[in-house]
Every structure is written in C-alpha cells, then in structure tokens.
Symmetry: C3
Subunit: 311 residues, 3 copies
Amino acid sequence: MPGALTLGEIVARLGGRLAGDPATVIRQVGSLDKAGDGQISFLSGKKNVSKLAATRAAAVILAAENEKRTRLPRIVCEAPYAYFARVSQLFNPVATQAPGIHASAVVSEKAVLGERVSIGAGCVVGEGVAIGDDSCLYPRVVVYPGCSLGRRVIVHSGAVIGADGFGIAPEAGRWVKIPQIGAVRIGDDVEIGANTTIDRGALDDTVLEEGVKLDNLVQIAHNVRVGAHTAIAGCAGVAGSADIGGHCTIGGAAVILGHLKIADHVHISAGTLISRSILKPGTYTGIYPFDEHASWTRSAASLRRKGKRDG
Amino acid sequence: MPGALTLGEIVARLGGRLAGDPATVIRQVGSLDKAGDGQISFLSGKKNVSKLAATRAAAVILAAENEKRTRLPRIVCEAPYAYFARVSQLFNPVATQAPGIHASAVVSEKAVLGERVSIGAGCVVGEGVAIGDDSCLYPRVVVYPGCSLGRRVIVHSGAVIGADGFGIAPEAGRWVKIPQIGAVRIGDDVEIGANTTIDRGALDDTVLEEGVKLDNLVQIAHNVRVGAHTAIAGCAGVAGSADIGGHCTIGGAAVILGHLKIADHVHISAGTLISRSILKPGTYTGIYPFDEHASWTRSAASLRRKGKRDG
Amino acid sequence: MPGALTLGEIVARLGGRLAGDPATVIRQVGSLDKAGDGQISFLSGKKNVSKLAATRAAAVILAAENEKRTRLPRIVCEAPYAYFARVSQLFNPVATQAPGIHASAVVSEKAVLGERVSIGAGCVVGEGVAIGDDSCLYPRVVVYPGCSLGRRVIVHSGAVIGADGFGIAPEAGRWVKIPQIGAVRIGDDVEIGANTTIDRGALDDTVLEEGVKLDNLVQIAHNVRVGAHTAIAGCAGVAGSADIGGHCTIGGAAVILGHLKIADHVHISAGTLISRSILKPGTYTGIYPFDEHASWTRSAASLRRKGKRDG
C-alpha cells in the first residue's frame, strides 16, 4: 500500500478528470470537515455543499455539476462516493487483519481453508466448513459445521453462521424440535456485520449470493435466499424461507416475514414490516409517523376507533 | 441412530396409519421440492399441495384430508408437521455437538454440570452455575455466575445468559447503577438462539419455564418470566419484569413493554409493540401496513393531521 | 464491602432522614415482595403501595409523601430509587469480576490498560486500544484496534466495539467497500450491554460521551455521537452519523435514522422510529396501537385507503 500518491497518479489508476495541479500529494482520505494537508475529500449530492467552501482538504472528488463550486485541485467523475471509496482503498486495507489462523482459534481439521484466509482470535470453525481465498473472519466468529463461505468474504466479530433455524412443530401443547439438516452457503464478496446471525437451513440450505452486504445484528432465518448485491442494514430481520431478490436495499430494523418473495431492485425503508410478497421494483414504506407524545396519543386513538367502528 | 428404517418400522415407533408398501426404505427427510430416493417428506396445510404431485420423495406424511392426493407410500396422521419432526429426530441428532467440555472452554470449578453435558469451544461458565443432564452449549456461550439451566437445554453460539439487567436510577442528571443481584433460572427443554441475551434479575430471578423456545437475537430483560412452552421469534424484545404466560407465541421483532402481564395462550404478531397487559387469550396485532412509498406518505400525513386536529 | 450496616450507619453515609430504630441491622436489599429479615426495600411512586402493607422487609426507603403508609423502620428521602441503588452498592459490587487479565483473553502488547482493569475470559483487545482505570470487560468482549475506553467503563459479554461501519458505495450494480478508518471513543462511566455493537467511524470517530448507558443488543452505527448521560434501551438502533444529545432516553427497539440531530433532554418512546431531527426537548412517540387482530385488520385497511384516496 503506497504511503502517498499524486492526484495525477490517482487519476491514472482510477480514471476521472483532473482539474488543478496533478503533482498535489495525497496521503489519506478525510471528511470535508476534518480533512487537512495531504488529504482528499469528496462531495456527493447537495447536502454538504456549504462545507465545501470551508474545507481545508488538499483536494476533492466531485461531480461535474459541482465542479465550479471550488478552486481546490479536484477529480471530476460520475459517482464521487464510489470513487472516494476506491481512493480510500488505495491507502487503506479493506480487511485489516493479517492472513493466518490465530493460535486461540479452534478450526476443525476437516475444514478446508483457501489461500491467505485470516481467522481471528477465538473463532470457531466447524467440521466440513469451506472458506474461500482471501476471506477474513474477525475475532470470535462461529461457523457451524458444513457451512461454506466464498472468496473475499469478511465476517465481523460475534457473527454466528449456521446455528439451528427456529424449527419447532406444535404437538399437544409442547414443541417438537425439527433437526436443522441444511447448511449455509455464502457467495464471494459478501460482508457480514458484527453479531449478525445466519441460520442453517431446515432441510435445504440458507443462501447468500455474491456481493451481499449485511450490517450488524441482522437476523437471517433458515432457508432464506438473499439475492446478489442486496444490502441489509442493521437490526433488520428476515424470517424463514423468504426469497429476496438481487440489488435490493433493506433499511435498518425492517422485517420481512416468512415465505415471501421480494423481486429484484426493491427498496424497503427502515422500520418497515413487509407482510406480503413484492413483485414490482420500487420503494416500499410502512412507518408510524412519530410526533410529540400528546399528538400521537390522539392519532393512535383515532386509529383504534377506526378498528372498532368499521367492523 | 439408525442408517435406515422401513415405513413399517417408523409407524411401529411413532404411530399413524400406513398406506402403501411398508417395506419402503427411508434414510433421511427432505422437502417436497428436493427429496429423492430414500427420503420422506410431508404436507402440512394446503399451501404446498401443488408440490405434492411433482415430488420425487419415496414417501410422504400427510393428514387424512389430503390422503387421496398422492399414490406415494404415505403415513396418515393428525399433525403431519410434528410427525415429520419426530421422523427427522430418528435420523438426525437434536443437538449435534458431542458431550464433554471443549479444551478451550472456561468452566468454573464451582459450576455443577450434569451427565452428558456438552460445552463447546470458547464457552465461559461462571461460578455457581448449574447445568442439567444432556444440555448442550454450542461454542462461545457465556453463562454468568449463579445462573441455572435445566435438563436438555440447548443454547446456541453467542448467547449471553445472566449479564446485568439495565438497572439505573436517575440522580441529579446522572445514572446510578443498581447492582443486579438476582440470577437467571432456565427450565428443562428450553432452547435459546444465537446471540440471544437473557439478563439476570435486579433483586429476584429472571425465569424461563420449561419448554420455552427463543430464536436468535432475542432480548429478555431482568425479572421477566416466560411461561412454559412459550415460543419467541427472532429480534423480539421483552422489557423488565414483564410476566408472559405459557403456550404463547410472540412474533419476530415484537416488543413487550415492562411490568406487563400477558395471559396464557396469547399470540402476538410479528412487529407488534405491546403497551398494556393482555388478560384474554387471542391474537393481537399492531403493524403499520406497508405500501408504495408515495401512498405511505399520504396515509402518514393523514394520521399526523389526526394527531393535530383532534386535540 | 461490609457484611452488615445499621440503618443509622446507612443514613450517616448516604443522607436522608431516619424514622424508627437506628440499630436495625441491614445485610442486603430486596424487593417488597420477597425481602425478609435483614433486608431493606424501597417504594418509588404509587404503583407498589399495596405491596408496602404486606412486606416483611426489615426497613424501607420511601418519599415523604408515603412515609405514613408504614410503621416499619424507614429512610425518607427525595429519590428513593436512586437511594436504594446507593444502598445496594454498599452491599454489592457494581462490577463482579476481579481485576486482572484472564489467561484466555487475547490482549495486544500494544494495548494500554489502566489500573485495576478487569479483562474477562475470551476477550480480544486489539492493537493500540486504551482502557482506563477500573474498567471491566466481561467475558468475550471484542475491542477492535485503535479504540479507547474511559475509566470505570463496564462492557458486558459479547459486545463488539469498533467493527467496521456499514460503509458501501454503489457502483455499476455492485457495492464498493469504504475502508472504515475512524475509531470508537468511549468516555468515563459508560456501561455497554451484552451483544451490543458500536461501529468504528468511517473517517472520523464514533463517540459515546461520559455516563452513557447502553442496554443489550443495541446497534450504534459509524460516526454517531451519543451525548453524556444518555440511556438507550435494548434492541434500539442508531444509524450512521446521528448526533444525539445529552440526558436523553431512548426506549427499547426505537430507531434513529442517519444524519439526524437530537437535542438534549429528548425522550423517545419504545418502538418509535425517528425520521427527522428533533430540536426541542420533550417526549416523542410513534407506535401503531395494537389491538385484537380483527380490529387491527380494519384500522389498517382504513389507513391503506387513506394512502390511495388522498393522492
């Protein structure tokens, strides 16, 4: 990883159009607020336009429409946020843990690990697990037996992959446990957040396709499929056998009930509970609008009356 | 565990009525979609009737009302799903981890473990903990000092039993911590999902009665009681001192506020927040109906106006 | 820690007015329901007045307005609940784990630990981490490299501090990871619940100011600031770059969206999603009122019609 690059070198590597001195030296990325000498920042959308004038960054990445707003050395491109991500990757590792198996990790002799895999302290990797090249498990990840992870997968601390799904059948007032004999299959380039849980399948497998990104404290139940390049934010839950398409975004604390089908390119707002299948791309929302407590009391009472009256 | 059983042998063990060749050999269970030679599947309710015609399973478990829908060898019974669970248990262990204490587990010398207990890698079991016969802690479970687990309890990875409850008292703009001196008592046949947390009591104990089933990422606060055979799905939260009856089901991401009383046989829908006690059995729901974003914007604005206007 | 104190000694240490025999011996605290010989209980508010008559506690802490309701030896004070907390602290340790580093913990040689720090079994403390005097990490806490914790911080099992924030930028239908190069800075007297996750900053740091209290399974995303003495209950989530003031309370399972500003002294009810900034102190709520399922069906249908009709 280079200690420094000139703007000219960055553009040579990543494309975009350069305005200003190509010899400007960049050593790190930073926010418009805090960046200083040797740091490059970015402007995406209009929200932070006011910060642009005041920034002390050495250079900035922005879209053509904002180009005239600054005299700083700048890189003009179509997707400044993604470009900024690429620049940051030039200076910073994507996974910060070195390859190798930490002495305190417990890895089954019957697990198959690819090249340059990193297994952090206190991880537990079960029998028959397969982990692809360049994947990184941060400390204290558990992968239950029989699960597989693709290449370049990143799993953050505390995540649990392959615990039993919640499979119980009622019988005379008690619950009978259904052995969970499927596994979890995770594709390439998936990232899984801290303390997220992904259950093994009841019969068939639970599947996360390539490029899926899960934030922290997400629950993926048994036999769910999450399609390629779908991103799910923190505290969201997906119930059993839900089939979620590719290129979706699911907001924080959203819930998707079981056995539903969600099409590709569906966007679900934070805090929304999805109770039936969605077959058409678009943005879907269901949030009670918050208000001062007294106002809420009235609107809720009105709603409750509707439930009684219209029956 | 047998490698194979005939349908006749299964019915001899578990009951039900057999139709078709009793010599049909079964080696494993499977879904209607994927089951093949040597596998038995099941049909529960009407949802998967269409899959029945196409299945390549060797046999199927179903209710009398569906018996005529197939010519496959079949077991006819009243609760096909529970029967299927029982059959699966014949071929598959309920807990897959062998008895014994993993070398990397940290178990207090002052903990008392029953017969055939299994303690996985990286578990931490504190002083004075009691764990009953045939219980299984998967890797990386923590049981704080003084807590007790019954027999045949299964705890999945990352669960934390007995951490301090959220006991803080306001005093001149700061919080004073209230020592949490109760413990957690867990009955027989309880199952606890991955990364679920169950807090110790503030003064008295937090109690999970026998047969309670908790999914992943469930939060049980201090001094809660969960009655026998109640099941709580993923991401649900129960606040302090709530008293939940037996034979309840609580849907995913539901929330039960503190100090409430929930009767036996209450069913709470996913995503529902319970803000007052429920003394009558039944099903209770409170979910904002999701819609396309523009429609939601209008319904939410209408509701907000109600809050202002009716005041 | 004393084995016993008289009421007179307690009042001498903590203040308040004593009524009844100052020689009454107290050895422990207890609830009104369960307290017996040698135990002191408390009455806060009116809710448990009926329990006061029946209690077998040796003494009770209460406010002047309730003083006449009992003939038991009693301590009269302005904030009985906080006073009770202080009394409990006299008899019980606030953190129950002894100072020192457990043999199974993995602590970087480049971490800096203060005096009397306690690091439990299976903890992982990364390079460059700083932990202040008298802090206690219960078993299986992970602190990623570069994060800092103040003095008297308590972190419960399974918490993960400093995992990568959910920083991804869209580019041609895929996600590009943004290296998360900030850290987490935690002030003095913070307590963090079991399996809670606090992400490191994308560029700048994520900050929890002094006296912040987080319950279990709380998600704090990258670059959030939580102001001093704010308390956040279980299962709540705070999205990226939210700026939460001091002395706030956030109820269980509440959600605060990203980039919002919440003023000091704001109280957010459980289960409420905050979708815009709150600049005025007060209590804010947004919860769909639950009802019997059939009533809910009608109220939800009415709301859905509003979305269609008012368009």
